[in-house]
Protein backbone atom coordinates (compact mmCIF):
# COMPACT_ATOMS: atom_id res chain seq x y z
CA UNK A 1 0.00 0.00 0.00
CA UNK A 2 2.60 2.54 1.06
CA UNK A 3 4.84 1.42 -1.75
CA UNK A 4 1.98 2.01 -4.17
CA UNK A 5 1.60 5.52 -2.85
CA UNK A 6 5.32 6.02 -3.35
CA UNK A 7 5.04 4.96 -6.98
CA UNK A 8 2.33 7.54 -7.38
CA UNK A 9 4.48 10.22 -5.70
CA UNK A 10 7.25 9.43 -8.13
CA UNK A 11 4.92 9.58 -11.10
CA UNK A 12 3.69 12.93 -9.89
CA UNK A 13 7.30 14.07 -9.48
CA UNK A 14 8.20 13.09 -13.04
CA UNK A 15 5.19 14.88 -14.45
CA UNK A 16 5.91 18.08 -12.51
CA UNK A 17 9.47 18.03 -13.79
CA UNK A 18 8.25 17.91 -17.35
CA UNK A 19 5.54 20.50 -16.85
CA UNK A 20 7.88 22.71 -14.83
CA UNK A 21 10.59 22.64 -17.44
CA UNK A 22 8.03 23.36 -20.13
CA UNK A 23 6.77 26.36 -18.20
CA UNK A 24 10.34 27.50 -17.56
CA UNK A 25 10.89 27.91 -21.26
CA UNK A 26 8.22 30.59 -21.55
CA UNK A 27 8.83 34.01 -19.99
CA UNK A 28 5.30 34.38 -18.68
CA UNK A 29 5.08 31.10 -16.83
CA UNK A 30 8.75 30.62 -15.98
CA UNK A 31 8.61 31.49 -12.31
CA UNK A 32 5.63 29.27 -11.62
CA UNK A 33 7.29 26.51 -13.58
CA UNK A 34 10.18 26.56 -11.18
CA UNK A 35 7.79 26.29 -8.26
CA UNK A 36 5.90 23.42 -9.87
CA UNK A 37 9.09 21.43 -10.30
CA UNK A 38 10.15 22.27 -6.74
CA UNK A 39 6.82 21.04 -5.37
CA UNK A 40 7.20 17.78 -7.26
CA UNK A 41 10.69 17.37 -5.89
CA UNK A 42 9.43 17.96 -2.38
CA UNK A 43 6.77 15.27 -2.75
CA UNK A 44 9.28 12.82 -4.19
CA UNK A 45 11.76 13.42 -1.35
CA UNK A 46 9.19 13.18 1.43
CA UNK A 47 7.73 10.09 -0.20
CA UNK A 48 11.12 8.43 -0.31
CA UNK A 49 11.87 9.16 3.35
CA UNK A 50 8.59 7.90 4.72
CA UNK A 51 7.29 5.36 2.25
CA UNK A 52 10.31 3.68 0.73
CA UNK A 53 10.91 0.07 1.61
CA UNK A 54 13.23 -2.57 0.24
CA UNK A 55 12.27 -6.20 0.81
CA UNK A 56 9.86 -5.08 3.47
CA UNK A 57 12.45 -3.02 5.32
CA UNK A 58 11.92 0.70 5.76
CA UNK A 59 14.68 3.23 5.74
CA UNK A 60 16.53 3.89 8.98
CA UNK A 61 18.97 6.49 10.22
CA UNK A 62 16.36 9.21 10.25
CA UNK A 63 18.57 11.29 12.51
CA UNK A 64 21.37 11.34 9.99
CA UNK A 65 19.02 11.95 7.10
CA UNK A 66 17.23 14.89 8.62
CA UNK A 67 20.35 16.56 9.92
CA UNK A 68 21.90 16.30 6.47
CA UNK A 69 18.73 17.70 4.91
CA UNK A 70 18.63 20.60 7.34
CA UNK A 71 22.30 21.42 6.92
CA UNK A 72 22.01 21.28 3.15
CA UNK A 73 18.85 23.40 3.12
CA UNK A 74 20.27 26.10 5.35
CA UNK A 75 23.56 26.38 3.53
CA UNK A 76 21.94 26.13 0.11
CA UNK A 77 19.35 28.78 0.86
CA UNK A 78 21.87 31.17 2.37
CA UNK A 79 24.24 30.80 -0.54
CA UNK A 80 21.50 31.20 -3.10
CA UNK A 81 20.03 34.23 -1.35
CA UNK A 82 23.30 36.00 -0.77
CA UNK A 83 24.92 35.59 -4.15
CA UNK A 84 25.21 38.69 -6.28
CA UNK A 85 23.01 38.68 -9.35
CA UNK A 86 25.92 38.73 -11.73
CA UNK A 87 27.55 35.80 -9.97
CA UNK A 88 24.57 33.55 -10.70
CA UNK A 89 26.24 31.32 -13.29
CA UNK A 90 29.06 30.45 -10.91
CA UNK A 91 26.48 29.61 -8.26
CA UNK A 92 24.69 27.32 -10.69
CA UNK A 93 28.01 25.73 -11.50
CA UNK A 94 28.74 25.13 -7.83
CA UNK A 95 25.36 23.51 -7.22
CA UNK A 96 25.77 21.45 -10.33
CA UNK A 97 29.10 20.22 -8.99
CA UNK A 98 27.40 19.20 -5.75
CA UNK A 99 24.89 17.14 -7.72
CA UNK A 100 27.69 15.47 -9.66
CA UNK A 101 29.56 14.68 -6.45
CA UNK A 102 26.39 13.26 -4.94
CA UNK A 103 25.93 10.93 -7.91
CA UNK A 104 29.56 9.86 -7.71
CA UNK A 105 29.29 9.20 -3.97
CA UNK A 106 26.26 7.02 -4.50
CA UNK A 107 28.25 4.94 -6.94
CA UNK A 108 31.10 4.67 -4.44
CA UNK A 109 28.81 3.55 -1.64
CA UNK A 110 27.02 1.07 -3.87
CA UNK A 111 30.34 -0.32 -5.01
CA UNK A 112 31.56 -0.69 -1.45
CA UNK A 113 28.25 -2.28 -0.61
CA UNK A 114 28.77 -4.83 -3.32
CA UNK A 115 32.20 -5.50 -1.90
CA UNK A 116 30.73 -6.15 1.59
CA UNK A 117 33.20 -3.86 3.32
CA UNK A 118 36.32 -4.75 1.42
CA UNK A 119 38.90 -6.71 3.29
CA UNK A 120 41.63 -8.57 1.36
CA UNK A 121 41.48 -11.58 3.62
CA UNK A 122 37.74 -12.24 3.23
CA UNK A 123 38.13 -11.35 -0.38
CA UNK A 124 40.79 -14.03 -0.87
CA UNK A 125 38.86 -16.55 1.21
CA UNK A 126 35.94 -16.01 -1.09
CA UNK A 127 38.13 -17.02 -3.96
CA UNK A 128 38.38 -13.45 -5.23
CA UNK A 129 34.95 -13.81 -6.59
CA UNK A 130 32.39 -12.25 -4.38
CA UNK A 131 30.81 -10.36 -7.09
CA UNK A 132 30.88 -13.09 -9.61
CA UNK A 133 27.15 -13.31 -9.17
CA UNK A 134 26.79 -9.70 -10.10
CA UNK A 135 25.62 -8.89 -13.58
CA UNK A 136 27.79 -6.69 -15.74
CA UNK A 137 25.02 -4.20 -16.32
CA UNK A 138 24.86 -3.11 -12.70
CA UNK A 139 28.62 -2.65 -12.67
CA UNK A 140 28.49 -0.75 -15.91
CA UNK A 141 25.90 1.60 -14.50
CA UNK A 142 27.86 2.12 -11.29
CA UNK A 143 30.91 3.03 -13.33
CA UNK A 144 28.95 5.33 -15.62
CA UNK A 145 27.49 7.18 -12.66
CA UNK A 146 30.90 7.40 -11.06
CA UNK A 147 32.76 8.66 -14.10
CA UNK A 148 30.14 11.12 -15.30
CA UNK A 149 29.41 12.36 -11.80
CA UNK A 150 33.08 12.91 -11.02
CA UNK A 151 33.79 14.67 -14.29
CA UNK A 152 30.79 16.88 -13.72
CA UNK A 153 31.95 17.62 -10.19
CA UNK A 154 35.53 18.58 -10.94
CA UNK A 155 34.61 20.34 -14.18
CA UNK A 156 32.00 22.42 -12.39
CA UNK A 157 34.46 23.36 -9.68
CA UNK A 158 36.93 24.60 -12.27
CA UNK A 159 34.18 26.50 -14.08
CA UNK A 160 33.18 28.03 -10.78
CA UNK A 161 36.76 29.07 -10.04
CA UNK A 162 37.13 30.58 -13.48
CA UNK A 163 34.02 32.69 -13.23
CA UNK A 164 35.16 33.71 -9.76
CA UNK A 165 38.38 34.86 -11.27
CA UNK A 166 40.33 32.50 -9.02
CA UNK A 167 41.42 30.17 -11.79
CA UNK A 168 43.00 31.40 -14.97
CA UNK A 169 42.75 29.88 -18.42
CA UNK A 170 45.47 27.32 -18.86
CA UNK A 171 46.22 25.48 -22.03
CA UNK A 172 49.23 23.67 -23.40
CA UNK A 173 49.91 22.02 -26.66
CA UNK A 174 48.58 18.53 -27.00
CA UNK A 175 46.17 18.95 -24.13
CA UNK A 176 43.33 17.52 -26.15
CA UNK A 177 45.37 14.40 -26.75
CA UNK A 178 46.13 14.01 -23.05
CA UNK A 179 42.44 14.43 -22.29
CA UNK A 180 41.60 11.74 -24.78
CA UNK A 181 44.20 9.42 -23.28
CA UNK A 182 42.80 9.92 -19.77
CA UNK A 183 39.31 9.21 -20.96
CA UNK A 184 40.32 6.08 -22.84
CA UNK A 185 42.33 4.85 -19.86
CA UNK A 186 39.28 5.33 -17.70
CA UNK A 187 37.06 3.36 -20.03
CA UNK A 188 39.69 0.66 -20.36
CA UNK A 189 39.99 0.21 -16.60
CA UNK A 190 36.24 0.09 -16.18
CA UNK A 191 35.95 -2.51 -18.93
CA UNK A 192 38.80 -4.47 -17.39
CA UNK A 193 37.09 -4.59 -14.00
CA UNK A 194 33.76 -5.60 -15.49
CA UNK A 195 35.21 -8.35 -17.66
CA UNK A 196 38.24 -9.68 -15.78
CA UNK A 197 37.28 -8.83 -12.18
CA UNK A 198 40.85 -8.98 -10.96
CA UNK A 199 42.04 -9.24 -7.40
CA UNK A 200 42.93 -5.56 -7.26
CA UNK A 201 39.46 -4.40 -8.17
CA UNK A 202 39.09 -1.82 -5.38
CA UNK A 203 42.41 -0.26 -6.32
CA UNK A 204 41.40 0.06 -9.92
CA UNK A 205 38.07 1.44 -8.83
CA UNK A 206 39.61 4.28 -6.90
CA UNK A 207 41.96 4.92 -9.82
CA UNK A 208 38.87 5.55 -11.92
CA UNK A 209 37.67 8.20 -9.48
CA UNK A 210 41.00 9.97 -9.63
CA UNK A 211 41.26 9.82 -13.39
CA UNK A 212 37.70 11.09 -13.79
CA UNK A 213 38.33 14.06 -11.54
CA UNK A 214 41.50 14.77 -13.47
CA UNK A 215 39.65 14.56 -16.73
CA UNK A 216 37.06 17.06 -15.57
CA UNK A 217 39.81 19.49 -14.61
CA UNK A 218 41.70 19.18 -17.87
CA UNK A 219 38.51 19.31 -19.88
CA UNK A 220 37.43 22.69 -18.56
CA UNK A 221 40.80 24.37 -17.88
CA UNK A 222 41.66 25.39 -21.44
CA UNK A 223 38.21 26.74 -22.30
CA UNK A 224 37.96 30.53 -22.22
CA UNK A 225 36.37 31.92 -19.08
CA UNK A 226 33.75 33.71 -21.13
CA UNK A 227 32.52 30.41 -22.50
CA UNK A 228 31.80 29.04 -19.05
CA UNK A 229 27.98 29.41 -19.31
CA UNK A 230 28.03 26.97 -22.20
CA UNK A 231 30.33 24.60 -20.36
CA UNK A 232 28.16 24.75 -17.26
CA UNK A 233 25.11 23.93 -19.31
CA UNK A 234 26.95 20.95 -20.77
CA UNK A 235 28.11 19.72 -17.36
CA UNK A 236 24.57 20.23 -16.18
CA UNK A 237 23.31 17.73 -18.70
CA UNK A 238 26.15 15.39 -17.65
CA UNK A 239 24.93 15.45 -14.08
CA UNK A 240 21.47 14.68 -15.40
CA UNK A 241 22.79 11.51 -16.99
CA UNK A 242 24.65 10.60 -13.80
CA UNK A 243 21.40 10.99 -11.85
CA UNK A 244 19.67 8.76 -14.40
CA UNK A 245 22.31 6.10 -13.72
CA UNK A 246 21.23 6.19 -10.09
CA UNK A 247 17.68 5.71 -11.33
CA UNK A 248 18.72 2.56 -13.18
CA UNK A 249 20.58 1.27 -10.16
CA UNK A 250 17.64 1.53 -7.79
CA UNK A 251 15.02 0.98 -10.47
CA UNK A 252 13.77 4.36 -9.35
CA UNK A 253 11.62 6.00 -12.00
CA UNK A 254 11.69 9.54 -10.75
CA UNK A 255 15.47 9.63 -10.71
CA UNK A 256 15.58 7.99 -14.09
CA UNK A 257 13.10 10.31 -15.76
CA UNK A 258 14.33 13.46 -14.02
CA UNK A 259 17.90 12.67 -14.95
CA UNK A 260 17.17 11.82 -18.55
CA UNK A 261 14.95 14.87 -18.91
CA UNK A 262 17.75 17.16 -17.78
CA UNK A 263 20.26 15.22 -19.83
CA UNK A 264 18.26 15.68 -23.02
CA UNK A 265 16.98 19.19 -22.39
CA UNK A 266 20.39 20.31 -21.16
CA UNK A 267 22.13 19.05 -24.26
CA UNK A 268 19.70 20.88 -26.51
CA UNK A 269 19.98 24.00 -24.37
CA UNK A 270 23.75 23.89 -24.68
CA UNK A 271 23.40 23.79 -28.43
CA UNK A 272 20.88 26.63 -28.43
CA UNK A 273 23.25 28.73 -26.34
CA UNK A 274 26.05 28.18 -28.81
CA UNK A 275 23.71 29.03 -31.64
CA UNK A 276 22.69 32.32 -30.02
CA UNK A 277 26.38 33.28 -30.11
CA UNK A 278 26.68 31.98 -33.64
CA UNK A 279 29.13 29.27 -32.72
CA UNK A 280 29.20 25.50 -32.67
CA UNK A 281 29.66 23.40 -29.57
CA UNK A 282 32.93 21.89 -30.75
CA UNK A 283 34.12 25.39 -31.49
CA UNK A 284 33.47 26.36 -27.88
CA UNK A 285 35.04 23.22 -26.44
CA UNK A 286 38.17 23.40 -28.56
CA UNK A 287 38.18 27.08 -27.80
CA UNK A 288 39.11 28.45 -31.18
CA UNK A 289 38.32 32.05 -30.38
CA UNK A 290 36.99 32.10 -26.87
CA UNK A 291 40.42 31.95 -25.31
CA UNK A 292 42.18 34.14 -27.79
CA UNK A 293 40.94 37.55 -26.66
CA UNK A 294 44.27 38.93 -25.57
CA UNK A 295 46.24 37.55 -28.48
CA UNK A 296 44.02 39.05 -31.15
CA UNK A 297 43.84 42.33 -29.28
CA UNK A 298 46.81 43.87 -31.03
CA UNK A 299 45.02 43.89 -34.34
CA UNK A 300 42.79 46.67 -33.16
CA UNK A 301 43.76 50.06 -34.42
CA UNK A 302 44.32 49.29 -38.11
CA UNK A 303 40.89 50.02 -39.42
CA UNK A 304 41.12 53.72 -40.19
CA UNK A 305 40.77 56.87 -38.20
CA UNK A 306 38.38 57.41 -35.37
CA UNK A 307 37.45 60.57 -33.57
CA UNK A 308 37.14 61.20 -29.87
CA UNK A 309 34.51 63.25 -28.10
CA UNK A 310 35.09 65.30 -24.96
CA UNK A 311 33.03 64.70 -21.85
CA UNK A 312 31.39 68.10 -22.06
CA UNK A 313 30.47 67.67 -25.72
CA UNK A 314 28.98 64.28 -24.97
CA UNK A 315 27.01 65.74 -22.10
CA UNK A 316 25.64 68.51 -24.30
CA UNK A 317 24.66 66.23 -27.16
CA UNK A 318 22.80 63.92 -24.81
CA UNK A 319 21.11 66.60 -22.75
CA UNK A 320 19.59 68.24 -25.81
CA UNK A 321 18.55 65.03 -27.51
CA UNK A 322 14.94 63.90 -27.72
CA UNK A 323 15.71 60.22 -27.41
CA UNK A 324 18.82 58.48 -26.09
CA UNK A 325 19.33 54.72 -26.31
CA UNK A 326 21.86 53.07 -24.04
CA UNK A 327 23.49 49.86 -25.29
CA UNK A 328 25.02 48.05 -22.33
CA UNK A 329 27.65 45.38 -22.85
CA UNK A 330 30.19 43.26 -21.07
CA UNK A 331 32.33 46.31 -20.20
CA UNK A 332 29.48 47.80 -18.15
CA UNK A 333 29.24 44.56 -16.20
CA UNK A 334 32.94 44.26 -15.36
CA UNK A 335 33.09 47.93 -14.42
CA UNK A 336 30.00 47.39 -12.19
CA UNK A 337 28.67 50.64 -13.60
CA UNK A 338 24.99 49.70 -13.67
CA UNK A 339 24.00 51.91 -10.74
CA UNK A 340 25.70 55.02 -12.04
CA UNK A 341 24.19 54.26 -15.44
CA UNK A 342 20.74 54.26 -13.86
CA UNK A 343 21.61 57.62 -12.24
CA UNK A 344 22.51 59.08 -15.61
CA UNK A 345 19.27 57.77 -17.06
CA UNK A 346 17.22 59.44 -14.33
CA UNK A 347 19.08 62.72 -14.65
CA UNK A 348 18.53 62.79 -18.39
CA UNK A 349 14.87 61.93 -17.99
CA UNK A 350 14.52 64.80 -15.52
CA UNK A 351 15.76 67.03 -18.32
CA UNK A 352 13.01 65.74 -20.57
CA UNK A 353 15.12 63.30 -22.58
CA UNK A 354 13.54 59.94 -23.36
CA UNK A 355 16.00 57.22 -22.32
CA UNK A 356 15.76 53.52 -23.13
CA UNK A 357 18.06 50.50 -23.13
CA UNK A 358 18.68 48.24 -26.08
CA UNK A 359 19.32 44.71 -24.86
CA UNK A 360 21.08 42.25 -27.11
CA UNK A 361 20.38 38.62 -26.14
CA UNK A 362 24.04 37.68 -25.81
CA UNK A 363 25.43 40.97 -24.54
CA UNK A 364 27.70 40.26 -21.60
CA UNK A 365 28.90 36.82 -20.68
CA UNK A 366 25.79 34.89 -19.83
CA UNK A 367 22.35 34.82 -21.45
CA UNK A 368 20.18 37.46 -19.82
CA UNK A 369 23.24 39.09 -18.27
CA UNK A 370 22.09 42.63 -19.03
CA UNK A 371 18.53 42.08 -17.79
CA UNK A 372 19.84 40.77 -14.51
CA UNK A 373 22.42 43.55 -14.20
CA UNK A 374 20.03 46.39 -14.85
CA UNK A 375 17.28 44.85 -12.74
CA UNK A 376 19.79 44.84 -9.89
CA UNK A 377 20.19 48.60 -10.35
CA UNK A 378 16.40 49.03 -10.32
CA UNK A 379 16.07 50.07 -13.94
CA UNK A 380 12.40 49.59 -14.76
CA UNK A 381 11.58 46.65 -16.98
CA UNK A 382 9.67 48.71 -19.53
CA UNK A 383 12.79 50.62 -20.45
CA UNK A 384 14.54 47.46 -21.62
CA UNK A 385 13.93 46.86 -25.30
CA UNK A 386 14.62 43.52 -26.89
CA UNK A 387 16.70 43.44 -30.01
CA UNK A 388 13.92 43.53 -32.61
CA UNK A 389 12.10 46.39 -30.92
CA UNK A 390 15.30 48.31 -30.33
CA UNK A 391 16.30 47.99 -33.97
CA UNK A 392 13.07 49.69 -34.94
CA UNK A 393 13.51 52.49 -32.47
CA UNK A 394 17.06 53.34 -33.48
CA UNK A 395 15.66 55.11 -36.54
CA UNK A 396 14.06 57.75 -34.32
CA UNK A 397 16.95 57.93 -31.87
CA UNK A 398 19.24 60.93 -31.59
CA UNK A 399 22.08 59.52 -29.54
CA UNK A 400 23.12 55.95 -28.92
CA UNK A 401 25.42 55.55 -25.93
CA UNK A 402 27.34 52.29 -26.09
CA UNK A 403 28.74 51.26 -22.73
CA UNK A 404 31.38 48.55 -22.96
CA UNK A 405 29.62 46.68 -25.74
CA UNK A 406 31.45 45.68 -28.86
CA UNK A 407 30.57 42.47 -30.72
CA UNK A 408 26.85 42.98 -30.36
CA UNK A 409 27.05 46.21 -32.36
CA UNK A 410 29.61 45.04 -34.89
CA UNK A 411 28.23 45.58 -38.43
CA UNK A 412 30.59 42.89 -39.73
CA UNK A 413 28.02 40.37 -38.51
CA UNK A 414 25.75 41.64 -41.26
CA UNK A 415 28.15 42.66 -44.00
CA UNK A 416 31.26 40.50 -43.85
CA UNK A 417 30.71 36.81 -44.60
CA UNK A 418 34.30 36.00 -43.62
CA UNK A 419 33.83 37.33 -40.10
CA UNK A 420 33.55 34.73 -37.33
CA UNK A 421 30.41 36.40 -36.06
CA UNK A 422 28.80 36.64 -39.51
CA UNK A 423 25.12 35.83 -39.32
CA UNK A 424 24.63 36.80 -35.68
CA UNK A 425 21.82 39.34 -35.42
CA UNK A 426 23.13 42.66 -34.08
CA UNK A 427 21.87 45.96 -32.73
CA UNK A 428 21.82 48.23 -35.74
CA UNK A 429 22.96 51.38 -33.99
CA UNK A 430 24.11 53.09 -37.21
CA UNK A 431 20.49 53.99 -37.89
CA UNK A 432 20.60 56.60 -35.12
CA UNK A 433 21.93 60.11 -35.64
CA UNK A 434 24.94 59.95 -33.29
CA UNK A 435 26.77 57.07 -31.72
CA UNK A 436 28.96 57.55 -28.65
CA UNK A 437 31.09 54.57 -27.69
CA UNK A 438 32.58 54.16 -24.25
CA UNK A 439 35.37 51.65 -23.79
CA UNK A 440 38.87 51.81 -22.46
CA UNK A 441 40.83 51.39 -25.69
CA UNK A 442 40.49 50.31 -29.30
CA UNK A 443 40.95 46.68 -28.31
CA UNK A 444 38.42 44.19 -29.62
CA UNK A 445 35.86 42.35 -27.50
CA UNK A 446 35.07 38.72 -26.90
CA UNK A 447 35.24 37.55 -30.49
CA UNK A 448 38.63 39.22 -30.91
CA UNK A 449 37.74 41.06 -34.09
CA UNK A 450 37.83 44.66 -35.14
CA UNK A 451 34.71 46.79 -35.24
CA UNK A 452 34.22 49.11 -38.23
CA UNK A 453 31.52 50.95 -36.37
CA UNK A 454 34.16 52.81 -34.41
CA UNK A 455 35.59 54.33 -37.57
CA UNK A 456 32.38 55.67 -39.01
CA UNK A 457 31.76 59.42 -39.25
CA UNK A 458 28.69 59.13 -37.02
CA UNK A 459 30.67 57.53 -34.22
CA UNK A 460 32.76 59.22 -31.59
CA UNK A 461 34.77 57.48 -28.89
CA UNK A 462 34.71 58.29 -25.20
CA UNK A 463 37.62 56.38 -23.73
CA UNK A 464 37.84 55.28 -20.11
CA UNK A 465 36.60 52.76 -17.63
CA UNK A 466 32.80 52.65 -17.83
CA UNK A 467 32.19 53.51 -14.19
CA UNK A 468 34.64 56.40 -14.15
CA UNK A 469 33.48 57.76 -17.50
CA UNK A 470 29.83 57.63 -16.47
CA UNK A 471 30.55 59.41 -13.20
CA UNK A 472 32.29 62.22 -15.04
CA UNK A 473 29.60 62.34 -17.70
CA UNK A 474 26.92 62.51 -15.04
CA UNK A 475 28.65 65.44 -13.35
CA UNK A 476 28.86 67.26 -16.67
CA UNK A 477 25.21 66.60 -17.47
CA UNK A 478 24.17 67.86 -14.07
CA UNK A 479 26.17 71.04 -14.52
CA UNK A 480 24.38 71.95 -17.75
Amino acid sequence: MELNLLVFCYLLGSVTFIVGLKMLSNPVSARNGNLVAAAGMFVAILGTIFLYEDEGKKLGNYGWIFSALVIGTVIGTLMAKRVKMTAMPEMVSLFNGMGGACAALISVIEFRHLMHGYDPATYASNGYSFFSSLDGTTMLIIFLGLIIGSVSFSGSMIAWGKLNGKIKDFAFKGQHIINLVILLLNVAIAAFIIIARPEETPLFFYAIILLSILYGVFFVLPIGGADMPVVISLLNSFTGVAAACGGFLYDNKVMLTGGILVGAAGTLLTMLMCKAMNRSLSNVLIGSFGGGNAAAGGAGPQGGTYKEISLSDAAVVMSYANKVMIVPGYGLAVAQAQHICHELEKTLEAKGVEVKYAIHPVAGRMPGHMNVLLAEADVSYEKLLEMELANEEFKSTDVVLILGANDVVNPAAKSDPSSPIYGMPILEVEQAKHVIVNKRSMKPGYAGIENQLFFQPKTSMLFGDAKKALQDLLAEVRSI
Partner: protein, 102 residues
Protein backbone atom coordinates in the same frame (compact mmCIF):
# COMPACT_ATOMS: atom_id res chain seq x y z
CA UNK B 1 24.94 -7.43 -30.71
CA UNK B 2 23.01 -10.34 -29.34
CA UNK B 3 23.71 -9.16 -25.83
CA UNK B 4 22.50 -5.69 -26.58
CA UNK B 5 19.23 -7.10 -27.90
CA UNK B 6 18.95 -9.24 -24.80
CA UNK B 7 19.51 -6.25 -22.64
CA UNK B 8 16.94 -4.15 -24.46
CA UNK B 9 14.39 -6.93 -24.20
CA UNK B 10 15.04 -7.40 -20.50
CA UNK B 11 14.77 -3.68 -19.86
CA UNK B 12 12.15 -3.04 -22.49
CA UNK B 13 10.08 -0.59 -20.46
CA UNK B 14 13.16 1.27 -19.29
CA UNK B 15 14.30 1.63 -22.87
CA UNK B 16 10.93 3.07 -23.84
CA UNK B 17 10.86 5.43 -20.90
CA UNK B 18 14.37 6.66 -21.62
CA UNK B 19 13.74 7.18 -25.32
CA UNK B 20 10.41 8.90 -24.80
CA UNK B 21 11.91 11.10 -22.13
CA UNK B 22 14.65 12.16 -24.51
CA UNK B 23 12.02 13.17 -27.04
CA UNK B 24 10.10 15.04 -24.36
CA UNK B 25 13.24 16.80 -23.14
CA UNK B 26 14.16 17.94 -26.60
CA UNK B 27 10.69 18.96 -27.63
CA UNK B 28 9.71 20.98 -24.57
CA UNK B 29 12.77 23.19 -24.78
CA UNK B 30 11.87 24.03 -28.33
CA UNK B 31 12.40 27.67 -29.08
CA UNK B 32 13.25 29.19 -25.74
CA UNK B 33 14.16 32.89 -25.96
CA UNK B 34 17.82 33.45 -25.17
CA UNK B 35 17.22 35.65 -22.11
CA UNK B 36 15.75 32.57 -20.48
CA UNK B 37 18.77 30.37 -21.14
CA UNK B 38 20.36 31.02 -17.75
CA UNK B 39 17.20 30.46 -15.64
CA UNK B 40 16.35 27.39 -17.68
CA UNK B 41 19.81 25.97 -17.14
CA UNK B 42 19.49 26.73 -13.46
CA UNK B 43 16.04 25.14 -13.23
CA UNK B 44 17.25 22.02 -15.01
CA UNK B 45 20.18 21.98 -12.62
CA UNK B 46 17.79 21.91 -9.68
CA UNK B 47 15.82 19.08 -11.26
CA UNK B 48 18.77 16.75 -11.60
CA UNK B 49 19.16 17.24 -7.87
CA UNK B 50 16.64 14.40 -7.79
CA UNK B 51 19.77 12.32 -7.39
CA UNK B 52 19.32 13.13 -3.70
CA UNK B 53 16.71 10.40 -3.60
CA UNK B 54 19.43 7.88 -4.27
CA UNK B 55 21.50 9.43 -1.50
CA UNK B 56 18.61 9.20 0.94
CA UNK B 57 18.05 5.56 0.11
CA UNK B 58 21.73 4.76 0.55
CA UNK B 59 21.84 6.66 3.81
CA UNK B 60 18.68 5.04 5.14
CA UNK B 61 19.95 1.57 4.33
CA UNK B 62 23.43 1.98 5.82
CA UNK B 63 24.00 -0.35 8.77
CA UNK B 64 24.47 1.14 12.20
CA UNK B 65 28.13 0.22 12.55
CA UNK B 66 29.28 1.01 9.03
CA UNK B 67 30.82 4.40 9.71
CA UNK B 68 32.27 4.85 6.24
CA UNK B 69 28.89 4.25 4.62
CA UNK B 70 27.17 6.53 7.11
CA UNK B 71 29.62 9.37 6.59
CA UNK B 72 29.68 9.06 2.83
CA UNK B 73 25.88 8.85 2.76
CA UNK B 74 25.60 11.85 5.05
CA UNK B 75 27.86 13.81 2.75
CA UNK B 76 25.89 12.68 -0.29
CA UNK B 77 22.60 13.82 1.21
CA UNK B 78 24.07 17.22 2.10
CA UNK B 79 25.47 17.68 -1.38
CA UNK B 80 22.21 16.57 -2.95
CA UNK B 81 20.22 18.96 -0.77
CA UNK B 82 22.53 21.80 -1.73
CA UNK B 83 21.89 20.99 -5.36
CA UNK B 84 18.11 20.86 -4.96
CA UNK B 85 17.47 23.71 -2.56
CA UNK B 86 20.17 26.02 -3.86
CA UNK B 87 19.10 25.27 -7.42
CA UNK B 88 15.44 26.10 -6.96
CA UNK B 89 16.10 29.19 -4.83
CA UNK B 90 18.65 30.64 -7.20
CA UNK B 91 16.36 30.01 -10.15
CA UNK B 92 13.54 31.75 -8.37
CA UNK B 93 15.72 34.74 -7.65
CA UNK B 94 16.79 34.96 -11.26
CA UNK B 95 13.25 34.79 -12.52
CA UNK B 96 12.20 37.44 -10.08
CA UNK B 97 14.50 39.78 -11.99
CA UNK B 98 12.74 39.04 -15.24
CA UNK B 99 9.22 39.62 -14.15
CA UNK B 100 7.65 42.81 -15.42
CA UNK B 101 7.50 45.39 -12.68
CA UNK B 102 4.29 47.20 -13.37
Amino acid sequence: MNQILNWIAAHQEMAYIVILMIFVGIEIIGKVPSVLHTPLMSGANAIHGVVIIGAIIVMGQAEEGNIVALVLGFLAVILGTLNVVGGFVVTDRMLEMFKKKK
